[in-house]
Symmetry: C2
Subunit: 308 residues, 2 copies
Amino acid sequence: MAGSLAGSPTGLPCAAAAHGTRTRQPRWGTLYVVSTPIGNLDDITVRALNTLKSVGLVAAEDTRRTGLLLRHFGIATPTTSLHEHNETRKLPALLRKLSDGVDIALVSDAGTPLVADPGQRLIAGAIEHGIRVVPIPGASAVLAALAVSGYPADEFVFAGFAPSRSKDRKTWLQRLADEPRTVVFFETPHRIKKTLSEMAEILVDRPITLARELTKIHEDVVQATASHAATLQILDRGEFTIVLAPYSKPVLAEEIVDDAVLSAYFYQMTDSAALSRREALVATADKFGLSPNDVYARLERLKAASQS
Amino acid sequence: MAGSLAGSPTGLPCAAAAHGTRTRQPRWGTLYVVSTPIGNLDDITVRALNTLKSVGLVAAEDTRRTGLLLRHFGIATPTTSLHEHNETRKLPALLRKLSDGVDIALVSDAGTPLVADPGQRLIAGAIEHGIRVVPIPGASAVLAALAVSGYPADEFVFAGFAPSRSKDRKTWLQRLADEPRTVVFFETPHRIKKTLSEMAEILVDRPITLARELTKIHEDVVQATASHAATLQILDRGEFTIVLAPYSKPVLAEEIVDDAVLSAYFYQMTDSAALSRREALVATADKFGLSPNDVYARLERLKAASQS
């Protein structure tokens, strides 16, 4: 991205190089990246409303949809459209407005702009020109779906929209199938049934969460294995957010290995296989997918229990 | 996760199996997963405030911090602590409260619970028992940092907290170094300098974004290459959110490959190497990191230009 706007037709001076400096230019306008509701209109923050009110212009993915939101909150700020098909063309004019001191709020149809939404070129362009970019956080379908899934979210992958062609989508699902982190992606209503049957084939008994109309009154969350989900009646209306439970290697997990089984294996290793106590700990740990410390703790627990 | 609570000491009936059913149980309480501000207190939604007011109990990562937030908004709902060290122990009592009809709001210190925060076991447990889980979306440091980075966010990876041991962290950075998606992770103030110098070594000239105190008055965003960032004066206070620009293969990209160079290679393949037209298209595409369709389009464009 660096340098991609060098020699751009904006004619703007590059007040601050994007690399190695703090991008601050107080006399210029600020670009606010404003999150808007994903369904329930009450999912908007006080600061988002104040920002939409105070800026000179709202750059919106769809001015009609954003117009409804603004009118609902009695906000009269003018809007201009900014979507994937006109972003490159409109970039110079918007950057010029910012450099002229006009504050601009960037919004998408729903949620946090940039996350699978247009606006990246405007943000990157603003940064490149040393224009201040301020996030106004709020709703996001990605995080809302993660929260209702209950799957681990210490780490996760957001994989964007599923590819539209079935062949590409299958390859893509195949690649996501052994992802050890929770995966979130979007699918459109008219492809959801096809995609679910492909997921049944590729992900089989992986737990998945299908979320639709999140935050709305008819919020709909289904949890099932991939193969079961494909057999369910799914209302193909509204956009779907799909969460895949992380892939876990099919090892015997702590929960299901009995201490006695573990202990029997350990003593078999020290006695029959004539391993040292330390080697047997490591071998047992490997065998059952545990750490040597865990194995040690469980052997001690068993010993204590047998002596009491 | 499925079945992990079967035989748990809660004694709760499993009203709905988590797999294959819609998890709805209207007479029971609801578990609300409520996002709270990450800095600026105005980054809270109308719905989050209403929810915190109306529930019977707030389960908070740190009751003192959440107490400040509640008092700021004049909310008197009782709180109980729920953090990684007591989550397993407190789970049965909280699930029992929910099954007794008490609504509970789960909050973390800042941002969206679950994202590198405790609460996952409570959410998973609630789902397992058929208790309704409702997300109340709001601020998240992950998405706020992504927005100010300007890096592509059609897809991204959230990698959690950087490992605390230097050796582990280096291996982890090495693995993230060739991630083709934008990466976001957290680092603590007391390790940031060490981590930045490791990043300089491993990521070298990769553009990175360092964000601190996002949404606060002293919001601080630095963009630099990894090696430059390590030489900057960094205030080691407050938690850092770090964004890595995606790794891109050092191939000759479309922008910099001249049509004529591409064409010369293509005709060398068909003439000297005696490949078929199709094979030469694929070979040229591979060579320059383009798709065969792109190569075809560019050959056609060159032909048209040379004939006009």
